[in-house]
Symmetry: C2
Subunit: 426 residues, 2 copies
């Protein structure tokens, strides 16, 4: 239930920004998937030969299928193409906490445009996703690959950028001294070059301060200046669009994924649970479908970490403990009145109250135990006397109180109980 609610809230945000749902088959030809996620990913493929002697495998992510889909269908669908894809992927790895052989990925991407407007939109979608899921304390860290590119260009290190990224990627784990050592010893930078790179990643403080430091550091590099101006536009536009300043942080230390991404990069952290890692990450890439088509398909997008978010929501007490989507149990007191019980159930449903009739004519105590176990919030009871006077006994299962209510007042009365229960949860 919690996962479905989470996905539903994500869908609402995607749709509100005009992203369309797509799905692709779970099985792809193995040649489509092999070699796309590295050696480890190839080994983890669930791969087999089907009845038609086809070499097929279960998708291990949603990006490779999107690339294949976009390469095949971009002519029909046209660009810009905005899609979200919430679907199961499979990896034959050893399950452990937070790692499963089957899990759901939740991606959204805009394909076919290099405009920074789509990068800004990606940031806004990420923000609204977090807000719609009920998080009030989070930070989206933003960087742009062009900033580091610009610095490396100025330092004459463009050729060594892969090695430098590998070293920087370990920054949070091993600290600056070890990274410096690796850059000097393995990437063969000078001590001065290594210090300049590290200095960039250490920039901190107010956004405006970082921007002006960056402008000094990168003066003369067109790439670097481009990166800064894209970031400046992103910060200004998101402020104008109504995003609180403390929700977005310029963080030039983000290195993760920079090897793959070519422009903006995003990571999202929960203030209360930073250790859980980024819960929504993404960025801009130059050419999604280069392995499948000669047409250039730039894009930008991000992936919502559903499993991490669910874990976080559980830890933060944001997950309802109820094990039924229904709020009201209509108990069965008089087996001859089944039609009446269902009539009132359907009236409640029309008023937006999910409700069910207990199926068996068991003692009321037993039916109420079912209601409590499943965490229904209200039980209604009616027997001969109630039917003859047009009333219902309404049991508030959280407060433990019981009230006799005339039928015309029933819906309002129950709405009142549900509303005050909502408040007591907050």
């Amino acid at each position: 239930m919690a996962r479905e609610q989470l996905i539903q809230k994500a869908r609402d945000v995607f749709r509100s920004y005009g992203f369309s749902p797509i799905d692709t088959p779970a099985l792809e030809y193995s040649e489509i998937l092999l070699g796309k996620g590295g050696e480890e990913s190839d080994k983890q493929l669930f791969r087999f030969t089907d009845q038609g002697n086809r070499d097929v495998a279960m998708r291990f992510d949603l990006t490779v299928p999107l690339a294949r889909f976009a390469a095949q269908h971009v002519q029909e669908i046209g660009i810009p193409f905005k899609r979200y894809h919430i679907a199961t992927v499979w990896r034959g790895e050893n399950p452990q906490k937070g790692r499963y052989r089957e899990f759901i990925q939740c991606d959204f991407d805009t394909i076919g445009t290099e405009s920074n407007v789509s990068d800004i939109e990606t940031l806004l979608v990420t923000h609204d996703l977090m807000q719609n899921l009920g998080f009030s304390r989070f930070r989206i860290c933003v960087n742009n690959r062009l900033v580091l590119n610009g610095l490396l260009e100025k330092l004459g290190l463009t050729e060594q950028s892969a090695g430098i990224l590998r070293a920087l990627d370990k920054l949070s784990k091993v600290g600056p001294d070890a990274v410096r050592q690796e850059m000097i010893e393995r990437v063969r930078t000078t001590a001065e070059q290594a210090s300049s790179v590290l200095k960039l990643t250490e920039l901190a403080g107010e956004t405006d301060h970082i921007f002006s430091e960056l402008e000094t550091l990168l003066a003369g590099s067109e790439q670097g200046m481009n990166g800064i101006s894209q970031l400046r536009e992103m910060f200004a536009a998101s402020r104008t669009a109504g995003i609180a300043a403390n929700r977005i942080k310029l963080d030039v230390s983000i290195a993760r994924g920079l090897n793959y991404y070519t422009g903006s990069v995003y990571e999202t952290y929960l203030d209360e649970l930073p250790g859980i890692g980024s819960v929504c990450s993404g960025g801009r890439y130059d050419n999604l479908a280069e392995l499948f088509t000669s047409k250039k398909l730039p894009g930008v997008g991000a992936s919502l970490g559903l499993d991490r978010l669910l874990t976080a929501m559980e830890e933060l007490g944001m997950v309802e403990k109820s094990s039924t989507p229904a709020q009201v149990l209509v108990t069965q007191f008089d087996a001859g009145k089944i039609g009446e019980y269902f009539r009132i159930v359907r009236e409640m449903q029309r008023a937006g109250i999910a409700s069910e009739v207990y199926p068996d004519a068991r003692p009321i105590g037993k039916q109420l135990r079912y209601a409590n176990r499943k965490r229904f919030q209200v039980a209604v009871i009616a027997g001969d006397q109630e039917f003859s006077t047009g009333t219902w006994q309404v049991k508030d299962l959280i407060q433990g109180t019981q009230t006799e209510v005339s039928e015309p007042r029933l819906i309002d009365h129950i709405h009142g109980i549900l509303k005050s229960a909502d408040k007591s949860q907050v």
Copy 2:
């Protein structure tokens, strides 16, 4: 988009009746799936040995996984257990119109009770599903296996019931004469017995008339009388609960699936497209999980035919032709005002209007072509003049009209256009 909307509407109904979502893994141990769906189903299994040398296969339906799940977890979850499961299944068959190797099933079931209340609820859920999907002309045909059982008992044909069901199953295809012949020649009934069985299936007319005919035919059979009284209660309760009489039809000719089901049986037909077959079918079964547990788990449920429904909705013009969930395109006229464009997008979203900004600063004509191709309903445009006067140009893309609107009136104005567009579609 259409499929996602259909699924969303189905979920809303399931939840309103207190059914909980579950999911099970796509891969089960092959021994769980083999032999559960017959020889054909075994051949169609996508089966392989995984990295851990496990013999696994992709699920071919949602019933076997439910049985396995219920057998394993019934102690924790308790009964009655009401779940819905909307998920992908795989069958290695030759794809043809309406038959795919991968498709979505949409099942709902109540496990752990023999009460007729759950059978009635299954009928109400089916009714409300059809209504919520937008169908106004449909019929749910209802029968009960006990009726035929009762007759066979009276005729002394209980032992031959499997053969008789096989013959009856062909009734709509081959006609009564061929069925009579099969019963006499292959099932070895007398001509009189065959006529009695066929007479039952030919009962037609008003519900009350059929009930009284049945009571005469089955007089003296406890099983048969039980079946009639369950059906009578179902008809009476659904009327009291507010279901129109013409939506439910007592149809004693339904034979399909009777071999599997043990009590009530349902089939749902669209009045306008009867040829498409039943779009929601189900019934009561005695023991779901007998292959996996000694505990008896009776249940009742049905399956919504998503692919058939989608085909029907397309044929009946019930599917929106838009290829974006967004209603409003904010065109990009002044690249320096991106923040303003996103500010208005987010204001519209808060008012329930899905909206996006066109990412590239292309000529307005090109942006409007994108809007028309994707079937946006409204485009809003603002440049220097509009920003200085606090107004927006609003283009009704369906009527082809354009109006200048002051910003405080923008949302109301767009709501008005969307509302009249909705009406013109009806």
